[in-house]
C-alpha cells in the first residue's frame, strides 16, 4: 500500500510540479486550480503506464482526488 502511495505521488509531482509534496495526499480537483481536464488526462496516462492498468472513460471523470486514485489502484491490484 505504501509503495503504491509513493508511486502515485511521483505521478502527481510530474503533472503538478508546483504542488507542495506535503499537500499531494489531500489534493482534489476542486481544491487545486491547476487540476483541470487536460491535466486530468495527463495524470491518468501516467498512472496507467506506472501501474499497468487501463481506466475506462466513465471512470476517469469520477477519479478527482489523490485518495480516489489511490483507492482505485488498490482495488485494481486486489482483483
Amino acid at each position: 500500500m505504501e509503495d503504491r502511495r509513493q508511486r502515485l505521488t511521483v505521478c502527481f509531482t510530474q503533472v503538478f510540479p508546483n504542488l507542495p509534496l506535503e499537500r499531494i495526499g489531500e489534493v482534489s480537483a476542486v481544491s487545486y486550480a491547476d487540476w483541470d481536464s487536460v491535466t486530468q488526462l495527463l495524470l491518468v496516462g501516467l498512472i496507467e503506464e506506472e501501474f499497468g492498468i487501463r481506466l475506462a472513460i466513465e471512470e476517469i471523470a469520477s477519479l478527482t482526488s489523490f485518495e480516489l486514485l489511490l483507492d482505485h489502484v488498490q482495488r485494481h491490484d486486489e482483483r
Binding site: 482534489s28 480537483a29 476542486v30 481544491s31 469520477s62 478527482t64 482526488s65 485518495e67 480516489l68 483507492d71
Partner: protein, 390 residues
C-alpha cells in the same frame, strides 16, 4: 365509586409511564338531574325524559361534561390521587351515553417528566359490558409541591426554569446520531428538554411523543411548564432513497411534515413562552436541498421546505426577537449516511475544497454560535457548512 371518599396518595416519585387505574359506575337519570342543577346545564335533552324521548336520541343522554367530570374523579381520586393538580382537559366524544348505563372509566399515564414534574394521562369512558366507546379524554397534570418549614418565597421564573438558571432549550431528535452529540454538548450550558419517540441516554429531561401525531403540540404544550429560550429541530423521519416518481404519498407527507408543520408547531410553542430578551429557533437542514439530488427526492423536498418555512418564520418572529436560522451541513458519515462505503465517502470528500467532510463538531459549533448572544441579529439565513463547495 360515588360512595368511596378514599383518595389514592401517589407521590411524584411513584409515577411512571404505564401506570393505570379504572372504576365502574352506573349512571341514572337522577344523576343527570343533579349534574344539571350543579352545572346549570339543564338542557332538556339531558334532564327531561319526555322532551328527550322525542329527540333523535330517543331518550335522555348524558352531558359530555359529566363524562369529563368522571375522568376528573379518576385523576383526583385514583391516579395520581389527592396530590394531583390538573392543568388541562381535552375531550372527544363518541356514541351518546343513554341512561341508565354502567360505565368503565379507565386511564393510563402516557407521559411523565420527573424533572419538570408534569405529565399526561389518556382516559377512556366505555360501556362496562362490551367496551362501546363513549369518550376519550386527555388530562395534563402536575403534582402539588410539598410544603416544608424551610421554604422561602422563591422567584417563580426560577421554579419554572427547573434546575439552576440555565436557559431552557427544546430539542427534537436528541436520541440518535447528530442529535445525541448536540444534546451532550448543549446540556453543559442549557437546560435541555428533548422531545420525540426515542429518549437520549443521559440526564436530560425527555418528553415522549410522536411528532407525526395530530395532537403532539397540545401534548407538548400541556406537559411543558415555564418559559423557553429556544428550540432546536433536529428530528427527521429518515432519508428515503429514490426519486419523487417512485415515492409514496405517506413518505412525502412525513418529510414535508417535519419540514413545515413540526417546525411551525415549535415556532408557535416558542412564541408563547419566549421572554422579553428574545430567543432562538434553529433547524438542521441539508446540503442536498441545494444540490437537488434526484436519488433522494422526498428528502430533498422536506429539507427544501424546511428552509422556506424558516425564512418566513424569521420575519414573523422577528418582533419577538427570536432569531431563526437553518444550519445546512454537507455530507457527514453519521446518522442516515452512517452506512456509506469508504468509496462513497472518498467521492464526497473529493468534492470538498477544504479536503475533509463536515463533522458533528462543525455542526455543534455552528449551533452554539447561533444560540449565543452574538448571533441575535443573524436571522432568516441558511448557515452552510460545505467546506467551500458551491
Amino acid at each position: 365509586m360515588s360512595n368511596d371518599t378514599t383518595s389514592a396518595d401517589l407521590a411524584a416519585e411513584d409515577l411512571r409511564v404505564g401506570l393505570a387505574a379504572d372504576f365502574v359506575r352506573t349512571i341514572e337519570a337522577e344523576d343527570l338531574a343533579a349534574f344539571g342543577l350543579l352545572s346549570g346545564d339543564l338542557n332538556p335533552l339531558h334532564v327531561d325524559a319526555d322532551v328527550a324521548a322525542d329527540s333523535q336520541f330517543g331518550g335522555q343522554v348524558t352531558h359530555g361534561a359529566f363524562l369529563v367530570a368522571m375522568v376528573s374523579a379518576l385523576v383526583g381520586m385514583k391516579l395520581p390521587g389527592r396530590r394531583v393538580l390538573v392543568t388541562g382537559f381535552n375531550a372527544r366524544f363518541g356514541s351518546p351515553v343513554r341512561v341508565p348505563e354502567t360505565l368503565r372509566v379507565s386511564g393510563t399515564i402516557v407521559a411523565w417528566n420527573t424533572s419538570l414534574q408534569s405529565g399526561r394521562l389518556a382516559a377512556r369512558v366505555q360501556r362496562a359490558t362490551d367496551g362501546e366507546h363513549f369518550a376519550e379524554v386527555g388530562v395534563s397534570f402536575t403534582m402539588q409541591q410539598a410544603k416544608s418549614a424551610g421554604v422561602q418565597a422563591v422567584d417563580k421564573r426560577v421554579l419554572a426554569r427547573g434546575v439552576g438558571t440555565q436557559p431552557r432549550l427544546l430539542v427534537t431528535g436528541g436520541g440518535g446520531g447528530l442529535g445525541r452529540d448536540l444534546v451532550k454538548s448543549l446540556a453543559e450550558d442549557f437546560e435541555v428538554i428533548t422531545v420525540g419517540r426515542q429518549a437520549p441516554t443521559g440526564a436530560t429531561s425527555h418528553i415522549s411523543l410522536d411528532l407525526l401525531s395530530d395532537d403532539w403540540e397540545l401534548a407538548l404544550e400541556e406537559t411543558l411548564p415555564g418559559p423557553l429560550y429556544g428550540a432546536l429541530h433536529v428530528a427527521w423521519p429518515g432519508a428515503p432513497r429514490g426519486g419523487l416518481m417512485s415515492s409514496s404519498k405517506e413518505m412525502r407527507r412525513q418529510q414535508l411534515s417535519f419540514g413545515t408543520d413540526v417546525l411551525i408547531g415549535l415556532a408557535q410553542i416558542l412564541s408563547r413562552r419566549i421572554e422579553p430578551q428574545g430567543g432562538r429557533l434553529i433547524a438542521i437542514g441539508s446540503q442536498v436541498a441545494h444540490t437537488r439530488n434526484v436519488r433522494l427526492g422526498a428528502y430533498v423536498l422536506g429539507k427544501s421546505a424546511l428552509e422556506t418555512t424558516m425564512s418566513l418564520l424569521a420575519k414573523e418572529l422577528a418582533p419577538l426577537r427570536i432569531a431563526c436560522n437553518v444550519i445546512s451541513p454537507g455530507f457527514m458519515p453519521v446518522g442516515i449516511n452512517s452506512k456509506s462505503s469508504n468509496r462513497e465517502q472518498l467521492q464526497e470528500k473529493a468534492g470538498v475544497p477544504m479536503g475533509r467532510l463536515c463533522a458533528t463538531t462543525d455542526v455543534v459549533a455552528a449551533v452554539r454560535y447561533l444560540l449565543g448572544e452574538g448571533a441575535e441579529f443573524h436571522t432568516g439565513r441558511v448557515l452552510a457548512l460545505w467546506g467551500g463547495q458551491e
